[in-house]
């Protein structure tokens, strides 16, 4: 073992892959960067026969995506969230929401709602459990197919946030069922999700987006179209109506959820910005926006036009999505 050897490597101040950077790495960079090993060998992602179906799936839908970049690992989450800080952040947020639930329940909030609004909640609000679940599924798909761990991490926390929204909805569904037995709360949501016209646009959009297997197309379909459409319609517009119906609880809850959505839009914006560094990607992204936006707009129309002052709600929601897409330098 004592043959002529190259020089003995000296210890470094950080991981060797970060050692060339001028800045001292943050905790975020230390624990988040270059963690995917299955993207190291594009020919064969896994240490198994290279022809197994999962190897094909990753070759095609991860590194074989139509969206190209020489170094996806250079992506950084603008919020620099890591697991530890995510839980600090969201435990604080959940303490706030649980406080709302507690306080509003204490003062008999649900019993004071007007009957017409309660019927609207059964139709426009509680079936959203299914819709939020589609975002959970879509985010989990982006998580597993993204070509860099820093992208995967953003999708990881977005998946958990979607389960958070679903959980709020489930919780409120049970409270409303307790306050209004016989109105179908906790029972009719699936039927409404599958049959009520107001949900069919979102159902079509998300079912189709959930089989967009190219990771970057899934990202566009969810993070640039479906999520903003859901947020603008089922969170922002419904929240506005709730406030005007004196459902302060739903008004505050939707505002709390929008803080997650705003964070998701920040990382989505950063990722689009990075993608646009590569020639050809603008056309790819615009192509996907052109494919998915009509479904997003149709979903908003189907849902919002049935809301009180529905036409304006639909216009506002569609504008919200359009403004977001245009802020990314894309064509809506």
């Amino acid at each position: 073992m004592s043959e002529e050897q190259p020089e003995v490597l000296k210890p470094l101040k950080t991981w060797s892959h970060l050692a060339g950077n001028r800045k001292r790495p943050s905790e975020y960079e230390i624990v988040s960067t270059n963690l995917h090993y299955h993207t190291d060998n594009p020919e064969n992602p896994f240490e198994l026969d290279s022809d197994i179906p999962m190897a094909d799936w990753y070759r095609k839908n991860c590194l074989g995506s139509s969206l190209k970049h020489d170094d996806w690992n250079a992506f950084r989450d603008p919020d620099q969230l890591i697991y530890r800080t995510y839980n600090l952040l969201q435990d604080g947020q959940e303490t706030y929401v649980t406080g709302l639930f507690d306080q509003f329940n204490e003062r008999g909030h649900d019993q004071m709602l007007n009957d017409e609004w309660v019927a609207k909640l059964a139709r426009f609000y509680t079936p959203a459990r299914y819709l939020f679940h589609t975002i959970q599924l879509g985010s989990a798909y982006i998580q597993q197919l993204a070509p860099a761990s820093t992208i995967t991490n953003c999708a990881t926390y977005q998946t958990a946030d979607s389960l958070r929204w679903l959980s709020h909805t489930a919780y409120r569904t049970r409270e409303l069922a307790n306050a209004y037995p016989g109105l179908g709360f906790g029972e009719n949501e699936r039927t409404l999700w599958e049959n009520d016209s107001i949900w069919q646009g979102f159902r079509e959009l998300t079912e189709k987006a959930l089989v967009a297997w190219d990771w970057a197309e899934a990202f566009v379909a969810f993070n640039l179209i479906a999520k903003p459409a859901v947020e603008e319609a089922v969170i922002v517009q419904l929240g506005d109506v709730a406030r005007s119906e004196e459902d302060t609880l739903l008004g505050l809850l939707t505002q709390a959820q929008m803080r997650d959505a705003e964070r998701h839009r920040r990382w989505a914006s950063a990722l689009v910005k990075m993608a646009l560094e590569t020639e050809g990607n603008l056309d790819v992204l615009n192509g996907w926006v052109a494919k998915w936006l009509p479904l997003g707009d149709a979903a908003i129309d189907a849902y919002c036009t049935e809301l009180p002052d529905g036409d304006n709600a639909a216009i506002d929601a569609k504008n919200g999505v359009k403004t977001f897409i245009e802020s990314l330098g894309l064509t809506a």
Binding site: V8, K13, E47, L48, R129, S167
Partner: protein
């Protein structure tokens, strides 16, 4: 109470299956990703996760756990335990982080696969928390070793190992890619969570945590025992899947998945955990032998759980039990002999006192592995260290990607199990490794082991130096004896004592 109890609303969070309309159910849940095996959605909806947690409970609990673990780290970092720890223990940590951190992170992807593709809504939600847990375990097990990169270049391998073709990294990827990265959601719940996490992570995390506490490494002990609290929750995703498979006539398939995963995990542990627990950990800090831990955490646990579920012990169980006395000693001897090819410094762990312990725990050790170590000790004492290191490469198993080992000396049973398949000759370390290959050759057949790559000329120059370069190992990273051979002094002392 103005707050609802979890039981009152929990079921609604997992009432989330619907009938798709705009795409077919098969498009939505492709069998290759979902693994529903034709079992209808209603059957998957009976999935009942034993450990229930809500989002709010999860973030609160995990915040608290991290606060505890990170504050212990901060307090103990000032203490610089690593600088005065036994070198064998330092090697334990370096080997552990390199072999574990990125695999845990990768497990978050496997969890996300269940979160997207499981037809069981309860599984989908629990896998979101599992995905979060593994995100934690990847991150925290990078943050801890990063504090030590300034000490020695081997610590860099906590991040680097999985990105290299170092042979142990290839073996680790081979296992984890097989049981979690390339399986459908249902198989993942069984192979990763039921077979691997229920037993084997207990071994790695609780076994090692017990030894860590004994050595005084409270940072490491608190870290890995905290990790295990997550594992023991998300490991419970597999059993409900098994129940559904069994109830729907898929018992044999379920059994095969378990048999494969347990054997493959066992083999990696013989190279990773066996040497750590029985050789690297300082003698006075060893709580139990590897075999004792295995009997307690793996054998007893699986025997009970498998029977409870109506499954059988794996067909190779008798061989497995007898291998508990053998395989890891061979792996340890091989790793120490080929020490430049690993990213940590293996501790020999064979002073006369340690041999006494080994003989007590593994009767017959001195007449078998002991004889090999006698030769090594003689060569070192006689100034012939070159005879205690490699000039060639070992034969590698085409299944586990680990060296083919057996019992040497008076118990000689080393055997290369060979199989010709489609005109290619494959080598296996055991009948079980070969059988796993034969059950599903398409998963493995065109894969090249380290030796196959060497023989194919992919590794140049074709010598040890070329092999080290291919593995990404440079001086400063390559392993050497953890104690700088100082343990030989115990033999000199013993000789003079014997002479007196």
């Amino acid at each position: 109470m103005a707050i609802l109890e979890r039981e009152e609303w929990y079921d609604l969070t997992r009432t989330t299956n619907w009938t798709t309309k705009f795409v077919t159910e098969e498009e939505f849940y492709p069998d290759e990703m979902s693994g529903h095996r034709g079992i209808p959605a209603e059957a998957w909806e009976t999935y009942d996760e034993p450990y229930k947690v809500t989002y709010a409970e999860y973030v609160a609990t995990q915040r608290e756990k991290d606060a505890g673990v990170y504050s212990v780290k901060a307090a103990l970092e000032r203490d610089a335990f690593v600088d005065r720890a036994d070198p064998g223990w330092v090697s334990t940590m370096i080997a552990h982080y390199g072999a574990i951190a990125l695999a845990e992170y990768a497990a978050s992807i496997a969890e996300a696969k269940m979160a997207r593709f499981a037809k069981a809504p309860g599984n989908r939600n629990m896998a979101v928390f599992g995905m979060m847990d593994e995100n934690r375990h990847g991150q925290i097990q990078l943050f801890y070793p990063h504090a030590n990169v300034k000490r020695n270049r081997q610590w860099d391998w906590a991040h680097k190992a999985y990105h290299t073709n170092e042979w142990a990294a290839i073996a680790a990827r081979s296992l984890f890619d097989d049981i979690m990265m390339t399986r459908d959601a249902v198989a993942t719940s069984i192979m990763l969570t039921f077979a691997f996490e229920t037993g084997f992570t207990n071994m790695q995390f609780l076994g090692l945590a017990a030894d860590a506490a004994e050595t005084g490494d409270h940072t490491f002990a608190s870290l890995i025992s905290s990790i295990q609290t997550d594992e023991s929750r998300h490991a419970q995703q597999g059993a409900p899947s098994l129940k559904i498979l069994i109830a729907n006539g898929k018992k044999e398939e379920a059994q095969n998945l378990i048999d494969t995963a347990i054997w493959r995990a066992w083999k990696l542990f013989t190279a990773l955990t066996g040497p750590i627990l029985d050789y690297y950990t300082p003698l006075e800090s060893r709580k139990e032998s590897f075999k004792e831990f295995m009997l307690e955490w793996i054998v007893a646990q699986f025997e009970r759980q498998l029977l409870d579920l109506g499954l059988d012990k794996p067909w190779y169980w008798d061989q497995f039990i007898s291998d508990l006395d053998e395989t890891h000693h061979g792996m340890h001897l091989g790793i120490w002999f080929w020490r430049p090819t690993v990213w940590w410094d293996p501790a020999a762990g064979v002073t006369p006192n340690e041999r006494e312990w080994l003989e007590e725990k593994y009767p017959g050790w001195n007449n078998t592995w002991g004889e090999c170590w006698d030769v090594i000790v003689d060569n070192l004492q006689n100034g012939k260290p070159e005879l205690t290191g490699p000039e060639t490469l070992p034969t590698i198993c085409n299944m586990c990607q680990l060296p083919i080992v057996g019992t040497p000396g008076q118990g000689w049973n080393v055997k290369d199990h060979q199989l010709e398949h489609n005109g290619r000759l494959y080598h296996f370390g055991s009948e079980v490794d070969m059988k796993i290959f034969q059950m599903d050759p398409e998963r493995y057949q065109n894969h090249m082991s380290f030796i196959d790559r060497f023989l194919a000329g992919e590794i140049q120059p074709m010598d040890l130096g070329g092999g080290l370069k291919y593995m990404g190992l440079s001086p400063g990273e390559m392993g050497d004896d953890a104690h700088g051979y100082s343990w030989l002094e115990a033999y000199s002392t013993k000789k003079s004592d014997d002479a007196a």
